[in-house]
C-alpha cells in the first residue's frame, strides 16, 4: 500500500513547490471531469503516466501500490454498469440490466477514479507530509481575517503528520507485545476480533495522552506562546518548475475544452 506515503527523491516533481503540487492536484481532479470521450481520456492517461518517469517512480511499483483500491473501484463500476438505465438494452436479468449507456458510464467512472487516484498518489509520493502541511497553511492564509485559526490548524496538522509514523511504530510494538501474551489479532468471529482490539487500543490512547503531555511541556519550555508573531524556518518559494507546471495545466485545460464533444 503506497497511498499516502512519501518516497524521498530529487526529481523535477519532488522539487516543485508543495503549494503548486497540492493546488495542481486539486485542479487536475477538477478537470478530469472535463474529459468525456476517448481522445480526452487517452490524453489524460498519457499525461498522468508520463509524470511517473519524471517523478522517478517505476510503473510496476506504482501499480502494485494502488492495487488495494481496485475493489472499491470495481464495486462502483459494477453499480454503474448494472443500475444505469437508458439507451440500448443489451442484457437483462431480473432487475439487473446492462445498457449501452451503463457501459459507457461505467467505463468513464473507471477512468475518472483511476486518474484521480493516480494523481493524488503521485502527490503524496513526491511531497513530504510537512511540506503539505506548510502548503495548507499558506493556502488558507487568506482566511485569517475571517477568524479561522489558520496557524493553529497548520500546527495541529504538522504535529499529527509528524506523529503518524511514531504511532504506527507504537501500534506494531503493542500488537507484538500482546501477541506474545497470547492475543490473536484478526482471527475468530467479529465479537472476538473486537475484543482483541481492547488490549491494543487502551495502551495506544494512554501513550498518546502521555506523548501529548510531554510534547506540550517541551514546547512551552522552548518558548512556544501560540501561533502569532512566529518566524518560519521552512520558507516556501516558487521556482521556474512551478511556472512550467502551471502553463502545462492551462494548456491541458484548453486542449480538453477543444477536444470535448457535446
Amino acid at each position: 500500500m503506497i497511498l499516502g506515503r512519501y518516497i524521498p527523491g530529487d526529481s523535477p516533481i519532488h522539487r516543485l513547490d508543495p503549494r503548486t503540487k497540492l493546488l495542481g492536484c486539486f485542479y487536475y481532479i477538477g478537470i478530469v471531469f472535463l474529459a468525456n470521450n476517448w481522445i480526452t481520456y487517452a490524453l489524460m492517461f498519457a499525461l498522468t503516466l508520463g509524470l511517473l518517469p519524471l517523478a522517478h517512480v517505476r510503473l510496476g511499483f506504482f501499480l502494485r501500490g494502488v492495487r488495494a483500491i481496485i475493489y472499491l473501484i470495481l464495486f462502483t463500476v459494477l453499480l454503474q454498469l448494472f443500475f444505469t438505465t437508458g439507451g440500448h438494452v443489451w442484457w437483462q436479468w431480473g432487475w439487473l440490466t446492462v445498457t449501452s449507456k451503463g457501459v459507457v458510464n461505467a467505463v468513464y467512472i473507471l477512468c475518472r477514479l483511476v486518474l484521480i487516484i493516480f494523481a493524488s498518489t503521485l502527490l503524496t509520493l513526491t511531497t513530504q507530509p510537512l511540506g503539505l502541511a506548510d502548503a495548507v497553511e499558506s493556502i488558507l492564509k487568506p482566511l485569517k481575517p475571517l477568524h479561522v485559526p489558520v496557524t493553529e490548524l497548520a500546527l495541529m496538522l504538522s504535529i499529527a503528520l509528524r506523529f503518524v509514523p511514531t504511532l504506527m511504530d507504537q501500534t506494531t510494538k503493542t500488537m507484538n507485545a500482546q501477541r506474545a501474551r497470547g492475543v490473536d489479532f484478526g482471527s475468530g468471529g467479529p465479537i472476538k476480533q473486537l475484543k482483541a482490539i481492547v488490549p491494543l487500543f487502551i495502551p495506544l490512547f494512554v501513550s498518546a495522552f502521555s506523548m501529548a503531555d510531554d510534547l506540550a511541556t517541551a514546547m512551552e519550555a522552548r518558548g512556544f506562546r501560540g501561533g502569532d508573531g512566529r518566524t518560519r524556518y521552512r520558507a516556501l518559494a516558487y521556482h521556474r518548475g512551478d511556472a512550467v507546471a502551471v502553463v502545462l495545466l492551462v494548456v491541458l485545460t484548453v486542449v480538453l475544452i477543444v477536444l470535448r464533444t457535446h
Binding site: A177, A180, V198
Partner: protein, 288 residues
Amino acid sequence: MDITFNHVSFTYQPGTPFAGTGLRDVNTTIHGGEYTAIVGHTGSGKSTLLQHLNALLKPTAGTVTIGDRVITPTTNNKHLRALRQQVGMVFQFPESQLFESTVQRDIAFGPENFGMAPDEAAALAAETARLVGLPDDLLTRSPFDLSGGQMRRVAIAGVLAMRPSVLVLDEPTAGLDPAGRRDLMALFARLHTEEGLTIVLVTHQMDDVANFAEHVLVMDGGALVREGTPREVFADAAWLRDHSLAQPTTTRMAGALAARGFHFDQPPLTLDELADALAPQLGGHTHE
C-alpha cells in the same frame, strides 16, 4: 528448549524502495537453560533477532528451530500461540502494554489467553506479583496509577505468569533507577539459577553482561560478528571499539592497572574477580 538459527536472513518490506536489511545469514544456537546476552550498537539487528525467537517475525530466508517447531519463510501465522507461551517476551518499555482495570487482571491476561481458568489465573497473578516484588495491596489498583518502576514490574509479571521456559528481555532496565535496575537483574538471575529459566537478554550494559551472561552474541549490521563466553568476547578491547562496544568497567580498570605494573592471569569480568586478583598483589588477604 534450544533455539537454533540456520542461515537466517530477514529483510524489512522486501520488494519495495523501503526495503531494509534486518538480519544477514545468522547461524547460532541459544541453548536451553543458558543465560545468553545479545549486544551490539543501535540498529545492529538485535531486536529483529529477538522477534524471531517466538516467530513474531519469520525469516525471509533460512529456518529458525524453536524447540521442535521449525519456522520457515512460509510458516503459517496460525497455531503459533503454543510457541508464544513457551517463549515469554519482555519488550523495551513493557509498561506501555498494560491495559486492564487492575494489576491482578493485567497479570492474569496472558495465562487466561492460553486457556487457564480465571480464578486459577488470578491466583497465579498474585503469586507472580509477589515474585517480582510487588506488594499485595497493589493488586487491586489500576496499573496506570503506579510509578514507572512498578509498572515495569507488573508488565514483567504479566509475561512471567505465562510460565515460559525461555524469557526474552529487550533492555529490561532501560530508564530505571540504580536500585530498580539492581533488583530486576537480581530477579532474572534468581529465576535463571533457581528455576533453570533460559534467559536471552539484549542490553547496552556491559557490566550486566559480564556479571550474568554465560554466552554472548555480538551483532553488527544485521550480522552475527562474534559469539562466545563473556571472557572471550571482552578480551579484545580494540575489536570491541571497532564495533562501537566497550569492555565492562572492571575489565577496563584491570587494563589500566596492568599498564601500571599489575599482573592479571586473565582479564577479570566482575568486581569479585578483580578484587581476588588484586588482593595478593597488594599483600592482603584473599577477598571473600
